[in-house]
């Protein structure tokens, strides 16, 4: 057992090498509070990680009514006992002194403590007034990727069939919307094709814009253990940064940001040109191959080399690696999802697997990754605005089915158009037609692009903002009503990771003060609003997690994400992959082992979209294109990025993550080890670029774009010349100004500078395609720099 190791210095821990096809060895990681031993622990409560998308199973250690540590679950399929640094240290945030313990309401411009009745009355009376005066289009909900399945489903029912608004989304829009969209485009429905076990079998692993080493440390540990074992897989990394993944890769391609489609088209071109497609698989299981072949005919490595600034020979080598693979596993994440032409690029990775016939077999794993721990549930429960159970809003039979499950009239469920995504909701709020926004478990005042704009929207007098959270976040500080929520370890519910593994997370301790589970808050709202079904019964008849889970099981029955074979009891034994049914009681390791049922016109979640404009394909067109339900191969043309480097802004700005933090640091910034490891923002450029700009490592610099500026300490690292990288986690809650930059000075949030632009298909904002310049503020170690640092962090001499 790996006891209380220093996992800040070594995030991946000790190696346990293994050979292809062998099970991944167990390594149990444990971290307990100082002075506590395993013998002191009174209870171990099963749960899983809520600080990344990997779904690492763990037991929460409880003593005297408090969480005192965590231990990885050795028997779980996902992590085999391992935990990452955020899991080992992040639980301490639960005990932070600044947790919200009472509701707050705005009085005379200030937030003051109140009781639940007063706070909920305000929410309910405003909702009622808006529904009467302006209709459901004036109310929007913006939720999270960190609540539980039961909470999302309840929110989804109350928004879709109670308030009857089309304005419902999760912050999963920022991290995983493109994964969902790419899966819908290629396979007709959301649902991860592959399984983490594919890592055990693969002979080739390709990571497209996925810094797995930092975002999913335990999965990367699995890859490292394969690399150290016999017959290791070969590794391809596509990333403009020289990440820990790039350091271990056989081939590392570092394209210009915004050119993924060009690069992928060239890889497809080479594989097709050299005849390494699986013709029998294409004939049996796909439509659209000819269009792809014609579309990439001109996309030679030489053509792409010009656009991507990657040597043509390297592209050819990468195509050889992919073309020679016999068991190819690919993963995709934010380097694709948050970049220009996000969905179009992610779909080309699907195409790579389709033309090589590499799906549905051990080692042939395709994983369009998720960014957040419970993002999969946001998607499947419809808390991202989609209809629950991957139902198709353009298919009247799907709507009727849902109406029957909820016992409402079909026209009581808005389905006149696609659901309103988060960025459009903020636009409606800016433009004045959306007057109430209920934000649960997310922090748009740090995480959305162009923060000056977001703050000014949230601060509008005419917009009523409800924030439900653990802490007085930057967003909560702009709210009219703040509702204190319980979190992981303080409530019970299930959630699903990036490879469809469902875990149960049970309540270990009581929430602080009057904080309530998100489920209870939503149920309270539904009861106060008195939402009814068509026979006058309560629209939401359940009153606890178990009841919500049962309702969701019924809604999921017969759909790709079928939960009917699961139960809380069964989940206590460890994670299980959906679909889990009577016929598949142990879950399902891989989708698409035998065809693409979910793509059938009668079953599919989506008929697809135009790869440039995002316009939905009509049911009639889809039926004629894909009458029998095969995988759809969709070609995409490369388009130049919407904002490119210029003489005024000569660099390309990309934002991203670091291993020590999650999202806007609301929890990880309150875990001492994690905070100490990465206490403040920095900016990365290459040494050559620094020299060209007259800068040196450690200087305080300003990163400026047409939207705004931030100040950060400069790190010179191995990264493409011409690119500046800034982590997006840092906001203002731990600075004197609280929710915004200090008066008259640039702030430290990366999103002060990012562009408001999103992928037309997935509606995911683009955080990796902006133009910027970097200028000197103060040399390293000078008095000016220290003074500026102190002003920013509020330190006094």
């Amino acid at each position: 057992m790996d006891r209380t190791p220093d996992r800040i210095a070594n995030p991946w821990g000790a190696r346990t090498p293994y050979a292809p096809g062998e099970p991944w060895p167990v390594r149990t990681d444990l971290h307990l509070a100082d002075g506590v031993t395993e013998e002191d622990v009174e209870r171990w409560v099963p749960s899983a990680s809520i600080l990344h998308s990997n779904g690492d199973a763990m037991d929460i250690a409880v003593r005297a009514g408090r969480i005192v540590g965590v231990r990885g679950r050795a028997g779980d399929r996902v992590n085999r006992g391992r935990l990452g640094p955020k899991d080992l240290y992040g639980w301490q945030a639960n005990h932070s002194r600044d947790r919200l313990t009472r509701p707050l309401v705005r009085e005379n411009g200030r937030l003051v403590e109140t009781d639940w009745d007063t706070a909920m009355d305000r929410v309910v009376s405003r909702t009622r007034a808006l529904l009467d005066d302006r209709g459901p289009g004036s109310v929007g909900f913006y939720t999270s990727g960190q609540l539980f399945l039961e909470e999302y489903y309840t929110l989804s029912v109350l928004a879709h069939a109670g308030v009857r608004t089309n304005h419902l989304d999760g912050n999963t829009r920022l991290c995983t919307a493109t994964a969902a969209e790419a899966l819908k485009e290629s396979f007709g429905s959301d649902g991860q094709p592959g399984s983490y076990e594919d890592i055990d079998h693969a002979d080739t692993i390709a990571l497209f814009g996925h810094n797995m080493a930092e975002t999913q440390t335990v999965l990367w540990t699995r890859v490292l253990d394969r690399l150290e074992g016999s017959d290791p897989p070969r590794l391809l990394c596509v990333d403009p940064r020289y990440t820990p993944v790039a350091r271990r890769a056989d081939i590392h391609l570092a394209p210009r940001p915004g050119t993924n489609v060009a690069l992928l088209n060239a890889l497809l071109h080479e594989i097709i040109r050299t005849g390494r497609t699986d013709r029998a698989y294409l004939d049996a299981h796909t439509v659209g191959y000819d269009e792809l072949a014609a579309g990439v005919e001109h996309c030679t490595p030489r053509w792409a080399a010009e656009i991507c600034d990657v040597p043509a020979a390297e592209i050819e080598r990468a195509a050889d690696l992919l073309g020679d693979a016999r068991r190819l596993t690919s993963t995709v994440l934010q380097g694709v999802y948050q970049s220009h032409q996000a969905s179009a690029a992610a779909v080309q990775v699907n195409n790579l697997h389709l033309i090589r016939g590499m799906l549905g077999r051990p080692g042939c794993g395709l994983m369009q990754m998720n960014g957040q721990p419970t993002a999969q549930n946001t998607r499947e429960c419809g808390a991202d605005g989609d209809l629950p159970g991957f139902r198709n809003w353009q298919n009247d039979r799907h709507v009727a089915e849902l109406a029957e499950i909820w016992n409402v009239e079909p026209d009581g469920i808005p389905h006149y158009g696609p659901p309103t995504h988060a960025m459009q909701m903020f636009r409606y709020a800016e433009q004045g037609s959306l007057r109430m926004l209920w934000i649960s478990g997310t922090n748009p005042a740090v995480s959305l692009p162009e923060l000056g704009r977001i703050r000014s929207i949230l601060a509008q007098e005419r917009l009523f903002v409800v924030v439900q959270d653990l802490f007085l976040t930057e967003t909560a500080q702009l709210a009219d009503v703040v509702l204190p929520a319980a979190t992981w370890g303080e409530k019970t519910g299930a959630f699903t990771n990036a490879d469809r593994t469902v875990h149960l997370s049970e309540k270990a301790v009581d929430p602080p003060g009057e904080a309530r589970a998100d489920l209870d808050i939503f149920l309270d709202f539904a009861a106060r609003m008195d939402f009814r079904d068509k026979d006058g019964g309560p629209l939401i008849p359940w009153s606890d997690p178990q009841g919500a889970f049962a309702a969701w099981q019924r809604c999921s029955a017969g759909r790709p994400c079928d939960y009917t074979g699961l139960s809380y009891d069964k989940l206590r034994g460890g994670g299980i992959q959906w679909p889990c049914t009577e016929d598949a009681p142990d879950g399902t390791a891989r989708l698409y082992t035998d065809g693409f049922d979910h793509a059938h016109p009668d079953r599919c979640e989506s008929y697809g979209k135009d790869m440039v404009t995002g316009s939905p394909v009509t049911p009639v067109e889809y039926r004629s294109l894909n009458p029998d339900g095969k995988a759809v191969i969709k070609a995409a043309e490369y388009l130049p990025p919407h904002e490119d480097a210029s003489p005024e802004y000569p660099l390309q700005l990309i934002t991203g993550r670091t291993v020590h933090h999650f999202h806007t640091r609301t929890k990880t910034g309150r875990a001492p080890e994690l905070n100490a490891a990465a206490p403040d923002v920095w900016a990365e450029i290459s040494p050559a670029e620094a020299a060209a700009q007259g800068l040196a490592d450690g200087d305080l610099v300003q990163v400026t774009t047409p939207r705004g500026a931030l100040r950060a300490r400069l790190r010179t690292v191995a990264i493409r010349d011409g690119v500046v990288f800034v982590p997006f986690h840092y906001g203002y809650w731990d600075t004197p100004a609280g929710h915004r930059p200090p008066d008259g000075l640039p702030g430290r949030a990366a999103n002060e500078t990012t562009i408001t632009d999103w992928d037309p298909l997935s509606k995911q904002p683009l955080f990796k395609t902006a133009a910027a310049r970097v200028t000197l503020v103060a040399r390293r170690g000078t008095h000016e720099q220290r003074a500026t640092d102190d002003a920013r962090t509020g330190k006094t001499a």
């Binding site: 302006r134 209709g135 289009g137 004036s138 089309n166 006149y416 158009g417 696609p418 309103t420 960025m423 459009q424 636009r427 409606y428 800016e430 433009q431 004045g432 037609s433 959306l434 135009d610 440039v612 404009t613 995002g614 316009s615 939905p616 388009l639 919407h642 408001t756 632009d757 999103w758 037309p760």
Partner: protein, 163 residues
């Protein structure tokens, strides 16, 4: 100049105008970010169409000038952007947006019908070059129509109810 030449000219002028109109709408509705970015993307198609029509013109006895030159963003553009940002907070701007999208849709529909005429004639006269051009370009015109229609479909319920 026969009917083909006349239609080529009409379509060429229509594509030139549509490019200009798309870019003008992109600028006017800078605060409608998806409209701004996608209009700019699909304007590129009209630009290519105008250029390819101009290249084919002499074969049919017409001299066509091709796409317009675009001057670099100047003071006037900056002013329009400022105006767009100020108007972006007003609900009436939503109606203006719907009007603009409707006009774009109608302009694209006009071009589409001209492509149809040319494609049909090209088939009848076995004019390979013209047929190839129409086969390449017409689908993009249809995508412009689909896009404007989609935006109207998505935005109308919100923008009409709220004014």
């Amino acid at each position: 100049m026969n009917g083909i030449g006349i239609t080529l000219r009409a379509l060429h002028d229509g594509e030139r105008d549509l490019e200009t109109d798309l870019l003008a709408v992109a600028e006017r509705h800078r605060t409608e970010h998806e409209v701004h970015h996608v209009a700019t993307d699909v304007a590129r198609w009209s630009r290519e169409h105008a250029a390819r029509l101009a290249a084919l013109g002499p074969d049919h006895g017409v001299e066509l000038s091709g796409p317009r030159d675009h001057t670099a963003p100047g003071a006037l553009t900056a002013l329009r952007e400022k105006a767009a940002q100020a108007l972006g907070r007003r609900q009436e701007t939503g109606l203006l947006l719907l009007d603009d999208l409707r006009d774009l849709h109608l302009a694209a529909a006009r071009n589409s019908l001209h492509w149809e005429m040319l494609a049909q004639t090209a088939q009848a006269t076995r004019d390979r070059a013209l047929l190839d051009l129409a086969t390449d370009c017409h689908p993009q015109t249809l995508r412009q129509m689909r896009w404007t229609n989609t935006m109207i479909k998505v935005l109308s319920p919100q923008l009409l109810v709220s004014v």
